[in-house]
């Protein structure tokens, strides 16, 4: 879809009046209807709970520290493969028996790993609650890693990697991360490579899950028709047998390299895929919220961002163009992408770079700054549209150490950002320059080396505190 465009003056006046009317309501968003309880089990395991008996179902999400950042250098893909295998047989059940039982009870259980975390999702009808948590317990504490399931999963991942190896989107992204983070786990593909997968052993897989599945970094959220006492009992039963402490490999803080570079990977496709990015701002940085607003104004996903307007709306150069802030545990990024026809690729990159420079130099206008604030205040609660999404957000808030009252405090945190803050942070966020990767047959675009001075040292100061989120 679509749409947007700049407001003509007539429209802008009407809109201003409307915004004022909404302001009061937005100060207490949809979250008002939601009470978050902190539950601590008899065994000391904590979860955040939203009780809602409107529907006979329960959703749960959890995360533990340690994802692909725990993969050995030169052997990427261990965390991803191990995580894919957690529901492929556990305890007394082989893969078919395990999956068959889940399906008979309509229990949805899945695991995934990103760069920093292993995450799990559970959804069950209330009537099958205890069995659902039992299957989760088995998957976490007694995964089988049967040879047949391991080889089947390996073949599936290999098949996907072979497909990715010629996908322009995937090549652009892989090249970006590998260039930005050489000799760092973040530079390795999360899913591994066709070279690394054959070398992953069952011992590698077991070693990973044994090290990361522990109680100390565990964050849990439960949403649905269940009371706090029952949650407490299920928490102990499900997670109580995990080791108290994870054994994580230390990971160095890093800042993205290659700023100022353009890297073109030739591929015979009609549309060039472009990834662009540079350093972001950490989640616990005092400038984070200002950066979040700046990102929204630049290219943050609404139909009225500057990139959307300039690249898509005015010129029709691309179907999608956006960027987002990414806060990892050991690095912070601003990362965006678009895709455009070969003869317009150079122009599109130029426009993106111009818009970034312009926003860095001039900051946002008063009007777009005000609109971005109301958008970001309203969109948060509107995005919480399913039980699993609420649970996932509550886990993220715990990982980000935002506090259980964050949803109530959030509008005030946004309001507290001044236009001066935004202008200062726009410069801080958007001045360092971009690493750009392009895949396709772009006309007139070629690889360039950076002005070397633009790239800071690869490893950040150790004192810099971690933020989190994938």
């Amino acid at each position: 879809m679509n749409a947007s465009a700049f407001l003509r003056n007539k429209g802008a006046r009407a809109l201003t009046a409307l915004v004022a009317g909404i302001g009061l309501w937005l100060a207490a968003p949809a979250a008002q209807a939601m009470t978050i309880e902190r539950v601590v089990s008899p065994g000391g395991i904590e979860a955040w709970l939203v009780r809602d008996s409107a529907l006979p179902l329960i959703a749960m999400e959890f995360a533990v520290l340690g994802g692909a950042d725990q993969d050995p250098l030169g052997k990427p893909g261990v965390a991803n493969m191990a995580t894919s295998l957690l529901d492929e047989g556990a305890g007394p059940f082989d893969a078919a028996a395990f999956q068959g039982r889940l399906e008979s009870k309509a229990i949805e259980l899945s695991f995934r790993s990103g760069r920093d975390y292993l995450r799990g999702t559970l959804r069950t009808l209330k009537e099958n609650r205890d069995e659902a948590f039992d299957f989760l317990r088995l998957a976490l504490t007694e995964p089988r890693f049967d040879a047949a399931a391991v080889e089947r999963t390996r073949a599936q991942i290999m098949s996907r990697l072979q497909r990715d190896a010629v996908s322009p989107n995937d090549i652009a992204s892989r090249t970006w991360w590998a260039t930005a983070f050489p000799d760092h786990p973040y530079g390795q593909p999360v899913n591994g490579t066709v070279e690394s997968l054959p070398g992953i052993t069952i011992d590698d897989l077991k070693s990973y899950t044994r090290r990361v599945l522990a109680r100390d970094g565990l964050k849990i959220a439960v949403v649905g028709d269940i009371d706090a006492a029952t949650v407490g009992i299920l928490l102990d039963r499900t997670f109580g047998a995990l080791p108290a402490k994870a054994k994580l490999q230390p990971v160095a803080y890093a800042v993205p390299q290659g700023l100022g570079r353009r890297i073109v990977t030739p591929l015979d496709v009609p549309q060039s895929v472009v990834n662009f990015g540079g350093p972001g701002i950490a989640r616990d940085d005092r400038d984070f919220m200002a950066a979040y607003i700046i990102n929204h104004i630049l290219g943050g996903g609404s139909f009225s961002s500057r990139l959307y307007r300039e690249v898509r709306e005015k010129r029709g150069l691309a179907y999608g163009v956006s960027d987002s802030l990414i806060w990892l545990n050991y690095a912070s990024l601003l990362l965006g992408s678009t895709a455009t026809r070969a003869d317009a690729t150079g122009q599109t990159i130029d426009i993106i770079e111009q818009e970034i420079r312009r926003l860095a130099a001039e900051g946002p206008t008063e009007e777009e700054f005000a609109k971005a604030k109301t958008y970001l205040k309203g969109s948060f609660a509107l995005g919480l549209d399913t039980s699993n999404r609420i649970a996932s957000q509550l886990v993220q808030m715990q990982l980000d150490k935002l506090g259980i009252d964050y949803i109530e405090r959030r509008p005030a945190l946004i309001d507290a950002v001044t236009l001066d803050d935004a202008r200062r942070v726009a410069k801080r966020l958007l001045d360092p320059g971009l690493l750009v990767t392009v895949v396709g047959r772009p006309e007139g675009v070629s690889s360039t080396q950076s002005g070397v001075a633009a790239s800071p040292s690869p490893v950040a100061k150790p004192g810099q505190s971690p933020a989190s989120r994938e």
Partner: protein, 455 residues
Amino acid sequence: MLKPLTTLAALAIVASALVGAVATAIAGAPQITHFTLSNGLEVVVIPDHRAPVVTHMLWYKVGSADETPGKSGLAHFLEHLMFKGTEKNPSGRFSQVVATIGGQENAFTSADYTGYFQRVPRDKLKAMMEFEADRMTGLELTDDVVRPELNVVLEEQNMRVANNPAARLGEQMDAALYLNHPYGRPVIGWRHEIEQLNREGALEFYRRFYAPNNAILVVAGDVTADEVRTMAEETYGKVPRFAEIKPRLRPQEPAQQAARTVTLADPRVTQPSVSRYYLAPSSLKARPGESEAIDVLAHILGRGSNSRLYQKLVVDKNIAVNAGASYDGTTVDNTRFGVYGTPKPGTTLPQLEQAIDVVIDDLIEHGVTAEELERAKSRMIADSVYANDNQRMMAQWYGASLATGATVDEVRTWPDRIRLVTAEAVRDAARRWLDKQRSVTGYLVKDTRPEEKRS
């Protein structure tokens, strides 16, 4: 909101696993209200009072299959242009208002319908209705906005199709499956025809199909039926009925008599695959209970890792990395039943295709087990409970079902009808519809010719 992307037919496919799935039979299921305004606009209200939020969707009963031959892509192009403004709300003001309150919005086009939706705080519902009613007849277009948007659509075609060998094969398979019906055309259009679309053609299409008596309003969320009725009458109710809405009579398929095979070779194919579409009845065109039986058949044959195709080909015989089946009955005319497989290295596509046929033939000959049937049915019925957790999904099911000819009651009783499906009905459905004479098989293979010879 993630990305400002239109959804195209993808939405219809996503919803397909759960087509029409909604349950009053199940505790906690909402009381759906359905009524029609005097100008012919149908209204469906789905209460969900968990948060002070509403999902507002307007569905038009027009899609790519209603386009004039030679103008493929017009329904989807118009969907894009609907965001360009009206006299009253010029130049994207609607989207600006949605964005300013942090709302979500998007639109989608399938072969049979075009939909527009917003998710907003409940006190903004009336404003959404005013905007949406206004652009039902008030669209204004200039070449200055139409031309760049056509380029956007061409980039969308590049992204979804031209850059993606599997999607290109899918288009060729549809074209081969449908000998006569417009479902053979891509929803996004053929590129050479998209390039010729223009302002006049879009406006002509708009005036022909966008009218209250060719639309369905679905509101899900924290609102009562009475509130919706009042607001709808004050907004949409003012739009006059349009007399000329014709029944959707598309050219139908003749008796199909020959199995077809198409092969797409591309140097970028590193993982070959085989898939097949069988012509299969939509819920609307099927005999009573038949569409439900086909749905259960698709589940047992190929949805998930417990399915026949996965268990036989991936687990037991170890010749495929993946295999499955699909069916989406939410269409006006006859749809497709799909099977697919991705071979392991060392297995050829003909070998895998033959192995798929063995699984299908076995099911046709011996039917399904009681355990398989129960597992599939309980999983599918549970999906209709889970659906209640997703306001947008609920609105989508009702909208898509009604836009393709189902009634509210048919949607509501879907779980009951799934419960009634027998093993015999599943076997009959397989025997009747998994007939290769009414199918196309597609091979996706690597093109090994040297690159310079292709250009």
